[in-house]
Amino acid sequence: MLNLFLLLFAGYIAGLLLPLCCPAKPRIQNILAHGSAGLASGAGILLGVTGLFAPEPWTASVQSTLPFLTFAIRLDPLAALFVLTISLVGLAASIYALGYVTEFYGRASIAVLGSLFNGFLLSMTLVVIADNGFFFLIVWELMSLLSYFLVVTEHGKAEVRYAGLFYLIMTHVGTAFIILAFLIFFQGGGSFSFEAFRHPEQPLSEGMRTLVFLMVLIGFGTKAGIVPLHVWLPYAHPAAPSHISALMSGVMIKTAIYALVRVYFDFLGGQFPWWWGFVVLVIGAVSALLGVMYALMEHDLKSLLAYHSVENIGIILLGIGAGMIFQTFGLTEFAALGLLAGLYHTINHAMFKALLFLGAGSLLYATHTRNMEEYGGLLRRMPWTGVFFLIGAVSISALPPTNGFVSEWLVFQSLFLSFHLPTVLLKLMLPLAAAMLALTSVLALTCFAKAFGISFLALPRSSHARQAEEVPITMRIAMGMLAVVCVLLGLAPMVVVPMLDRVVAPFAGLSIEGKVLALDGWALAPVNVEFSSLSPMALALLLIALSALGLLLAVAFGGLVKQRYYKTWGCGINLTARMEYTATGFVQPIKRVFGAIYQPTVKLETELLKESRYFAKRRHFEFHIEPVFQKYLYDPVVAFFIGMAERLRVIQGGSLHLYLAYIFVTLIVLLLFAV
């Protein structure tokens, strides 16, 4: 296993240095950087798999000369799972990048881009296998920093700079909270090693544990993008080059999920009051719903996807939160189920979100715009991208029999099991969460009906879309790879569940593989078949068979009639793209129904003809939705600190006598104290 790790490490380091060292053509640098990244992530996949099924966690460590700092790594199933995920997406991204970064030839330094890319992947991998708090903090910040530099690749644009800065500061604020939490652990254990976090010499007091819970939730929540700490996400993720967005949205924010599970179930030993789980659950529900709602209003494809990350993090937290609640009441099986569901969705989201971002990247590559209203009819021009994007869309909308559906179904089940809980409040809240989840998923479905329908179907809406062409083979391979993974993750739970079970078992204290899988793996049946069961494979076969039946019936009744092609009826005039339903129009009813949340502001200017006031020469319509959190949460905080600083200016008034007086007074006061 050490060899695998070294291979991975060497690969990334090579990818980090080689491009910088060889001042050659961008092409060479591109191949060097992303080639070695690909190799390294390949090694990562193997490492993840072996680590997942290793009987014992694999550890290794190098002592630094600095006090407290030990480069210790530990590969237990949880870490291995995330290594696997990161490496899978990393591999796809590397392959994709080979084609995609040709965009940036001449516009940005490929060497820097490539080596940052490698560094980013490496830091993420190290984050999930770090076994020392100090080391963890270093790689964690490194991860944020490198991703920041990747975000500002196109720093020529003001909005990119803004996005980068916003991201950098937010994530640093989060880190401050994490540091505080780790320091509390340190107080107990007197060491930064995770082992000491697990079993401190003097156990943390209840108050301290609660503090840790909150600090960690805020700290890692900022990275995960939970509401209301999500605001940076829709800025930063779209700003980055698409393969980076895929990594950030697909796996980077998952490292926060990893850390949450690590702290709550590992360090804090899964012992917590019920309200912890409840808080997580509520945050999850709110994030899920608000995430998808804001996504609906986005017409920048990448921002839309970014908001969906918020949504899916919410869904993941629903699972984990439910798990925590069950854990509190000793319903270990269900706790394990909830956690398993959450982790399952984590992997799935990593895959289809990465796929979708790569798809969005391909559209950007082909059309040079991110605005959905300028796409249209692309399925005909970019058939492969279209299909892959569709698979991603179906998965993220949790439609059977895809992976998204399976994990969401498991979350539903764990929420439904709430009737075993003792308190009526929870008995009611979990089903309500389930209802919100239902609303979320159907809104997501709407959102992707919009995203796919507006972008890929009907007539091209702009010259960009009209001239679009299918993307290079490398990019298609990458997307195809992820698409296949998505499908497999959905159809083969009998493979995925045992893996997840190995991760969950140590925390829950028992293995629920046997309980979740029924009919020797062909069906999922949490707790028992009588309660609920699902067989994605069967559903898939059924769907295929029945569509075949449909075809059969059609032929049987109608024979082989050939169909006639004719242009769509445009109310008597030729149909043009301007008659099509726009993305904005598509979500208009939703905007209206949920107006309370959006608080939309609409502006309509009409310029009438002089001749008659019944005919408008031009109309200008714009609508904005209130950025509630920025307006009511962030701006005030910033204003507060800036204001304080402004008030402090007087200290530095410029008068020499004033300055002398400072020293004088200080002296006098100290003298008075001392005697």
């Binding site: 179904w409 089903p431 389930a434 209802a435 796919f452 559903l539 059609a554 009826w569 598509f586």
Partner: protein, 316 residues
């Protein structure tokens, strides 16, 4: 194994056969109540046959999505139907998915219909899709909650289990109030999902009001036939759901031929009854404005929630 296959095939046939009949029956009832003679109950069969034989016209702007959708919709709706007990309480496909799977299978159909609506590029399709979206998104939570209320009373989310237990009079709560509320909620949901008055009017082609019809406006020939049939199936699925969950009387709890016979007859009667009920409702109410639909579905949601509440309060 053979038995299972037989049952599945039988259920498929029954569903396919019965769904046009339901549509026809509703039309007939409405006609009668409007003092018209109305077309024969079996008219829909003839329509389908005709549509299948007609040459389909496909818009040049469309992609393969447009032609694939009818099959997907048809398949997903029928698949959903196969997960619901029809005349035998223990469906062989029970393991394949529980009631949530049913909901999401139907959602799959809806998704592709929306895409198809957008694909043709005409404003009507888009309008239909966007309206369908809002209706769907409002029905879903109510549906899940009511399902959960029911699942609670039976301690299962598997339809077969629920129906089977109810049929054997197991675990019926002493007080039926949560039950009834869930029923009411689910009924409203059914009406909304299947696009009947007062939420949508399948008979209209007035762009101001139509939802489902607008989505499928561009379809013709065999594609239209499949979609119409799927619509009927959807209706059948919901009606069977309601019928068998709340009144599984006579449903075959064993696989004895006699029992199955009885079950079939009972099923047809129940469905017919519900269809007539819908017909009556469609005559009594006018279609709601789109943005008033929210109120109706809000009511459904609250009903389901109350059902849940009652259940717990009565238990504790």
């Amino acid at each position: 194994m053979l038995q299972a296959i037989f049952l599945v095939v039988a259920q498929t046939i029954v569903l396919l056969a019965v769904s046009p009949f339901i549509v026809g029956l509703i039309k007939k009832v409405k006609a009668r109540l409007q003092l018209r003679r109305g077309a024969s109950v079996f008219q829909p069969y003839a329509d389908l046959a005709k549509l299948f034989r007609k040459e389909p016209v496909v818009s040049t702007t469309t992609s393969w999505i447009f032609t694939a959708t009818p099959y997907i919709v048809f398949a997903s709706t029928l698949a959903a139907g196969l997960l619901v007990p029809i005349f035998v309480s223990r469906t062989p496909l029970n393991f394949a998915g529980n009631i949530i799977a049913v909901v999401y299978l139907l959602a799959l159909g809806t998704f592709f219909l929306m895409l198809a609506g957008l694909d043709a590029g005409s404003a009507f399709g888009g309008m239909g899709s966007s309206r369908e979206a809002i209706v769907a998104s409002l029905t879903e939570p109510a549906m899940i909650l009511s399902i959960f209320a029911i699942a609670l009373t039976k301690g299962s989310t598997n339809l077969s289990t629920i129906v089977h237990k109810t049929a054997l009079l197991e675990g019926i709560v002493t007080d039926p109030s949560p039950y009834l509320m869930a029923l009411a909620a689910l009924f409203i949901v059914a009406i909304a999902e299947t696009g009947r008055v007062p939420v949508d009017n399948p008979a209209t082609h007035l762009e101001l009001t139509m939802i489902h019809e607008a989505m499928v406006l561009e379809y013709s020939g065999r594609y239209l036939a499949l979609i119409e049939w799927a619509a009927g199936l959807k209706l059948a699925v919901f009606l069977s759901l309601i019928a068998n969950i709340f009144a599984p009387w006579g449903i075959a709890t064993t696989l004895a031929p006699a029992a199955m016979g009885i079950g079939l007859v009972a099923y047809l009667l129940k469905i017919a009854g519900l269809a007539m009920l819908i017909g009556v409702i469609e005559c009594m109410f006018a279609k709601l404005r789109l943005f008033r639909v929210t109120d109706l579905l809000g009511v459904a949601f609250i009903l389901a929630l109350l059902g849940l509440l009652f259940f717990y309060i009565l238990r504790s």
